[in-house]
Symmetry: C2
Subunit: 118 residues, 2 copies
């Protein structure tokens, strides 16, 4: 009787295990979600995103304001663009970047609240 609930076979708590198995995210969503958050997981990208949280900015402004190389900024913006964390518009030679949507802003804000222990 007890052994039907042994850890190595069905887990200790059948209810929880079944519930998770039923409601779990599919692999596709899991991957997308982790990719989405992974992009937030770098100090340089956080700086860039926070700058864009303050203002829409062009590549060169970001580089100058944050004291980063143009190349590094451009590479990171590519990552941010690919994951749809930022959007951009072009005006002549200049490309202006900004945060893509409200979710990105909210995630940033929640993160800040978390580290502030609010």
């Amino acid at each position: 009787m007890e052994n039907e609930e042994s850890c190595s076979t069905h887990g200790l708590h059948t209810k929880s295990v079944e519930n998770v198995r039923k409601k779990m995210l599919d692999n596709e969503s899991t991957k997308e979600l982790s990719m989405f958050f992974k992009v937030f997981g770098d100090a340089t990208r956080i700086k860039i995103m926070y700058a864009l949280y303050l203002n829409e900015m062009c590549v060169c402004d970001i580089a100058v304001a944050l004291d980063l190389s143009q190349s590094a900024v451009s590479h990171q913006l590519r990552t941010l663009k690919t994951s749809r964390l930022v959007k951009y518009r072009r005006t002549g030679k200049v490309v202006y970047y900004s945060l893509d949507d409200e979710h990105v802003i909210k995630v940033l804000e929640q993160g800040i609240s978390h580290i502030k222990h609010d």
Copy 2:
């Protein structure tokens, strides 16, 4: 006149650059924030966190429900614990994990909304 605003020296848009320089996150916060998000940036940890979003669970239940090795789960829980994304309580041999705070839950929810294009 124009050259005072050359890209390589002061950036194209002085206002934005100054604004960012004034309001930018300090290095400490930037690092903490990126560390916090980095933890979300792995498919295994997302699965674990989503499972904990559904139920409080012990290590073995997580491993069984998600078909992961006990070792892998334990290693990841350590990471999650260190960054204060999950909390735990012990009852005898069994350690129950759950998401640490409301911010963690909100971040997860915002991420899901983002990938669903809500």
